[in-house]
Symmetry: C3
Subunit: 218 residues, 3 copies
């Protein structure tokens, strides 16, 4: 366990950089939607912040540990940068959907892996870790959609949370096989990225419940 912890800390800087890139992408996604809803600057900032750190915050509350962002003001500043970016380069960012998609996928991969790792450090079993990884990756987007009063996107479209969960399972699997946690993190993260890319490229999606028309209510 100690070896596990020390291994974690040595990859910390690398993880942090990727995490901030991912958080920036999440914040931008929240701020863009807020713009479309005609929120003011404060509202856009809050929605951006919740999208970026909401998943991790919920995970930390559920794990009963201090929230990750109280010791590092970077996340609040990060969201402020996202606000400036959307305010300044709005049109270009909206058009550049590819960059946007890649950043967002990096964020999902990072958050998922971090959620799995933190849950394992807290002594939880593997399936709790996978759930927490998915919450870390996907709950921010759900909160964003609840705040702007729309049906959460991830419940209806592309492999998003599912990719997050699969990445968590991959992490656990390779950890069980005796791999170094750093390697597990990379494999877990790449699984998320690969699944999302494949889903977009080959238009893979989970079946909808109403693919079976008899389930329609009223």
């Amino acid at each position: 366990m100690l070896a596990y912890l020390s291994a974690l800390f040595s990859v910390d800087t690398f993880l942090t950089v990727l995490e901030y890139v991912g958080a920036l992408a999440c914040a931008i996604s929240g701020i863009r939607i807020s713009s479309a809803k005609q929120f003011d600057l404060f509202g856009a900032y809050v929605v951006g912040l919740v999208t970026a750190i909401g998943g991790g915050t919920l995970r930390d509350i559920m794990l009963g540990v201090p929230m990750f962002w109280v010791s590092q003001p970077g996340y609040l500043i990060n969201t402020f940068i996202a606000l400036l970016v959307v305010w300044t380069f709005g049109r270009r960012i909206i058009k550049d959907n590819i960059t946007w998609f890649i950043f967002d996928t990096i964020g999902l991969a990072m958050f998922s892996v971090i959620g799995v790792q933190k849950s394992l450090i807290c002594g939880h079993s593997w399936w709790v870790a996978v759930v927490m990884g998915t919450i870390t990756g996907a709950a921010g987007g759900v909160m964003r959609d609840v705040l702007v009063n729309t049906v959460p996107l991830i419940f209806r479209s592309e492999l998003y949370a599912t990719a997050s969960a699969c990445g968590g399972v991959a992490y656990i699997l390779f950890l069980r096989l005796g791999c170094d946690p750093r390697l597990c993190a990379i494999i877990g993260g790449l699984t998320v990225v690969a699944l999302r890319l494949a889903a977009i490229r080959f238009k893979i999606a989970l079946p909808k419940m109403t693919g079976r028309a008899h389930l329609r209510l009223k």
Copy 2:
């Protein structure tokens, strides 16, 4: 207090079975609504899971204790079964509203009583226990409705949360009268069931605020 705890544990198995039946009913309710909203399999699973364990999770977070489901994967499996059931028997389940109503009522009764008991064990006063029982019973349904972006049903219709609160009060009352906690649990649970049945049978509902038209805003 020790006697109280040991008495609780001896009824544990019975409680657990009823709790799973109730959780199954809650999960099915979430999955049915997700179907109507055309969620994909993952979205339906998440909404089902949140409906089933959201109330208890919120209670545990509010009480500051570990979440009840991290030590028993049964709840995740239970929701998976609910997904299979709706997927396979969709039409029949939707038609069979009576079975559905009974299961749901069992769930509400169980969750309410469990919430009251757990809060008392945590050393909270009786009225906090009643609030926590109501949260355990009713908050999952509120979260479900927030996630599918509708106005929470329980704020507008039949005695649901009110029945839960009354069951909690009955539990506390009989505990104060010196009854065995097992008996209190049964009385509390039956109070919930009786109130819901009576409300449906005699069309009893709480008055609406806008029964008084002058309260209408804009």
Copy 3:
């Protein structure tokens, strides 16, 4: 730190009275909106309660401390009084927007200052305290709007959460300048009140994101 704590407790009674007035105003705001949405008595009570104590509850959960209301049933009773007030004096209250606005502003000021103080007592840094003050002041209103299924008002209109954040910053600033915490609390609270009054009087508002039309999505 000890001196700080003892100073706090000596202003406790004064704070408590103002806090209850503020909580009453919040509860009334939640109950009024519930009336417009045709909720039943229970639904209105829940929405009122969440509006009044939701922000402080979220703060306490995020800080990892026991929720403030479990030791004082006053908040539940307070919301019950709000329900009676709206039920009885509905029309007059709705017309009397000035009183209503003043009460609500007192509540925002009180909650913000209390949130800042409690976070500092928990040992958090100044910017976490400001965030927590804003959450205490504004999150209840966001929860209210999520529960009644509308876009949160504070993301789109007048200086509400921004005033709360500025009050928190003022509190911190004067604390750093060596002022007595009681004085800081008064200055912080008055900052909130002054900003809200000025915003209404001079129609000051934060710019909307879509003031820049190119940000519009779709």
